[in-house]
């Protein structure tokens, strides 16, 4: 019984080794990149190094996108081959939905706020 489990376990870990568990080098690379990609945005905001709020905002968003990709690749082991590409398809589908929801909400609600401002009377426009 226990010998059977042992065999099963070793087969299993052998089958997945290097595919799903990643490697020490991979985890350390991901961790090192994450530390840099986290520290720089905090530094940018805390010291106002760029001296421009818009530039800082764009920079920290760019760092966030890169760090999310780093986590996906080095920690979640995303690639185009796992599950014959179905994990990637699910991810792309989700990203499309997220983009529609976020940009749609922000865009519609921003214009709603602007157009509903007190004193903005549509009937006064010729």
């Amino acid at each position: 019984m226990s010998a059977g489990h042992q065999t099963d376990t070793s087969n299993h870990s052998h089958a997945h080794h290097g595919v799903n568990h990643g490697s020490l080098a991979g985890y350390l690379t991901g961790f090192g990149l994450s530390v840099v990609l986290t520290a720089v945005p905090f530094w940018l905001v805390m010291t106002n190094a760029l001296g421009n709020q818009m530039a800082s905002a764009i920079a920290i968003m760019a760092f966030a996108v890169v760090q999310i990709i780093v986590h996906m690749v080095f920690f979640l082991h995303m690639n185009t081959r796992s599950e014959s590409g179905w994990t990637m398809m699910a991810l792309i589908f989700t990203l499309i939905l997220v983009m529609i929801a976020l940009t749609g909400s922000l865009w519609v609600m921003y214009h709603l706020n602007v157009n509903m401002m007190p004193g903005h009377d549509m009937s006064q426009i010729p």
Partner: protein
């Protein structure tokens, strides 16, 4: 009758085949990934709510009055460290070494607890200053978004403890390995969500 028996036998054969497939963990991984994607949609909705309501202070405190960036940086460090230690636990699991794996899982749990402790300290501090979820649209959406993430981390910790007990009782059987891999994805996924939180809520809040 004989024909019906044959059909049933045939069906059972296929079920056994499917069961063996599930035990290998490959279909579970895809299913769990799809669950994570649906969880991602929940967070996307909460981010959208925060994006819409995040500027409605109702003459109450703004992010600049509340947020303490060094504390957030410390919190981010805790979650990032717990991600890498979970990775080390998975590497030990791949080698079949139970004891070192359990030690890494304990360290992961402690970093997770530290994260939750700092977050609860921050929430308590806000509420003590009168910045309660009822105060403004900004604070309602802030507590909903960050609180939902914190709740995920809490359930991740419960899951972690349950799996550590499972492994200590049954060893690194295939089912436990599969469960540990699911929790691994869940844990790293929460770290990915936290990247969005500290960027869009805390850092962008200080720039507003």
């Amino acid at each position: 009758m004989a024909h019906a028996d044959t059909v049933i036998d045939d069906t059972i054969f296929h079920l056994e085949d499917d069961h063996g497939h599930a035990e290998s963990g490959s279909s579970t991984m895809l299913g769990f990934w799809i669950y994570l994607m649906s969880d991602c949609l929940i967070f996307a909705m909460l981010f959208a709510v925060y994006g819409v309501l995040g500027g409605n202070y109702a003459a109450g405190p703004a992010p600049k009055d509340l947020f303490d960036l060094p504390l957030v940086a410390l919190n981010t460090t805790m979650l990032l460290l717990s991600s890498i230690t979970y990775g080390f636990a998975m590497l030990e699991m791949a080698k079949g070494r139970v004891r070192p794996m359990q030690v890494w899982l304990v360290i992961t749990g402690l970093f997770g607890l530290a994260f939750l402790g700092i977050e609860l300290y921050e929430f308590a501090h806000f509420i003590h200053e009168g910045a309660t979820p009822q105060r403004s649209g900004f604070l309602s959406s802030f507590f909903t978004l960050v609180g939902t993430h914190g709740l995920h981390v809490t359930f991740g910790l419960v899951w972690l403890v349950v799996l550590m007990v499972q492994v200590s009782r049954h060893g690194l059987i295939a089912a436990n390995q599969r469960r540990l891999m699911c929790l691994s994805m869940f844990w790293h996924f929460l770290d990915v969500i936290w990247i969005g939180v500290f960027t869009f809520v805390y850092l962008m809040g200080m720039l507003r």
